[in-house]
Symmetry: C2
Subunit: 145 residues, 2 copies
DNA sequence: TTCTATTCTGAAAATACTTTTCACAATAGA
DNA sequence: TCTATTGTGAAAAGTATTTTCAGAATAGAA
């Protein structure tokens, strides 16, 4: 996501491109693959843009989520986390959350297309997105038992 | 879940059976199939047990979730919701959340066993539970477009 | 049954995360 | 450059949840 695209996307929705918005998006792009919390994003943005306020970070994350540039995640730790919506990814990936060490792994699998078709047929519900979380024990924590 | 079983389950963990705990569980059982929020549960329990405090309801729901008697749900409305963990159900059901009217449907499907096997093989991650949410448009809201 | 260590409860205070308010600042199109 | 409009930071407010604490209730022992 370069700034020219971002500016256009904002404009489509009547929003302006500001250094703060760019800075928040930049951090999320730089940390692609991580699951940063709002406070973590705030701290990282502050390194480059010390005057930014926490409220602006919250507002920007809301905006980016609404624009589908990021995905909001919930790993049950009480924090909102975000990851870049990698549009070149064939399918959304799923998260494996270790109940022991809380580590989060990612799986690229997607068997859910079949399921989504069945849901449309049986329930007449048109699925547009899904969120899947698997809980269990990672390799390291499984061995320790 | 009759009170005798509940009492034993509590005892196993060093907890006592109190009228408050029973009352909260009773309400959840009575409303099986619904997705009650904490405040809704509080209001319903209060009808039968007017002196109960909100903190006790929070504490009890935490306990019931920990004991796997209920499932905590998150439909992205800022509220914690709970449903009875129906252990005679073959598989967990999934929720279909309508992005337009916010109605929540349930699907009994479970194609995830195959996926979980693949996850164990490829990622050496032992899945013990999963949460799946599908977002989209219900029959009624699809038609209106 | 009575006693008593322990757990539990209600109310209020405290937390934690998030949103809103408001006055001032910055953006972008004219 | 001008200016309508949107955006921002700081602080306050909001909302859901957890903790504190003194008194009450439970359950096992006596």
């Amino acid at each position: 996501m370069d700034s020219i695209n971002f500016k256009d996307l904002l404009k489509e929705r009547g929003y302006k491109l500001t250094p703060q918005r760019q800075a928040v998006l930049d951090i999320i792009i730089e940390h692609n693959g991580e699951h940063l919390s709002t406070e973590e994003i705030y701290a990282l943005v502050k390194e480059k843009y010390p005057d930014i306020g926490l409220a602006t970070v919250y507002r920007t994350l809301l905006l980016l989520d609404d624009m589908d540039l990021v995905y909001k995640l919930d790993f049950d730790d009480g924090l909102s986390r975000y990851e870049l919506n990698n549009k070149n990814e064939d399918h959304r990936h799923h998260h494996l959350i270790c109940l022991n060490c809380s580590k989060v792994l990612e799986v690229q699998e997607d068997l859910l297309d079949t399921l989504e078709e069945q849901i449309l047929t049986k329930n007449k519900f048109k699925v547009t997105d899904h969120r899947v979380k698997f809980y269990g024990y990672c390799e390291h924590c499984s061995e320790k038992e």
